[in-house]
Symmetry: C2
Subunit: 115 residues, 2 copies
DNA sequence: GCAATATTTAACGCCGTCGTTAACCATTCG
DNA sequence: CGAATGGTTAACGACGGCGTTAAATATTGC
């Protein structure tokens, strides 16, 4: 049930196009906070909060690499995405049965316009 | 880009625990609107709007079966879930490369506390 | 026709989100 | 030290989501 609460935040985080855009950029390589703000033509504070949201949900992590301690690098983290996939798998497990019945039905009624 | 817009709504729809709960119930079998409202101890109007959201995103469909034309049956629809899976696949495709590089890096620096 | 049933729409209030600008650390470097 | 740079936090306004109750719309059945 802890996981369910976390899914709330995960989905909410992904509902924002800017945040999905960030994820898209981070797929290629880690990026600096300011770099991301610029990429979306958005004020640094605005991006900072988007990053905070992504951080809190665990979709992204921040580490202070580089020789300059002011800059923060953001990168993707796989765990939450796996969790998301797990949820999706669970929901879609249903199609298996559903489509199975459908297939069987189609099989039985093949070629007939109306059974 | 139409698909991206749709993802906004899909994720937003799934961010609500009630709506995910509805999806969970619909996995087992189609349900009536009022039945769903009762299941979540919620007023019919509130559930009605949740269902409207789910309908608009295409996660759910409504058809008026049964001999009583007043009742509406809701059931899941696979298309949007597939779309979601596609997005997730795309994002996760990155782990392959990432983990690959990480593995190589770990390989090179194995046993050293600090490179 | 009229009361009861199933669901949706309308109108209202509350609270959280998203963006902006201004102020606030921390760090670099001249 | 002191200005400049990178980033986050604070305060504010606009907008939208979610729940409630009241009213509207079908449809059923006596």
């Amino acid at each position: 049930m802890g996981a369910a609460r976390r899914l709330d935040d995960t989905f909410a985080a992904l509902a924002d196009p800017t945040r999905r855009g960030v994820i898209d950029l981070l797929r290629e390589q880690p990026r600096r906070a300011g770099e991301l703000a610029a990429a979306f033509d958005m004020s640094p504070p605005a991006m900072s909060r988007h990053l905070r949201v992504l951080r809190k949900t665990g979709l992204v992590e921040e580490d202070a690499v580089e020789d300059d301690a002011r800059v923060k690098l953001y990168r993707l983290r796989p765990e939450r995405f796996s969790e998301l996939r797990a949820w999706l798998d669970e929901v879609e497990a249903f199609w298996g049965d559903q489509l199975q019945s459908f297939k069987e039905h189609a099989e039985r009624t093949r070629g007939k316009k109306r059974p």
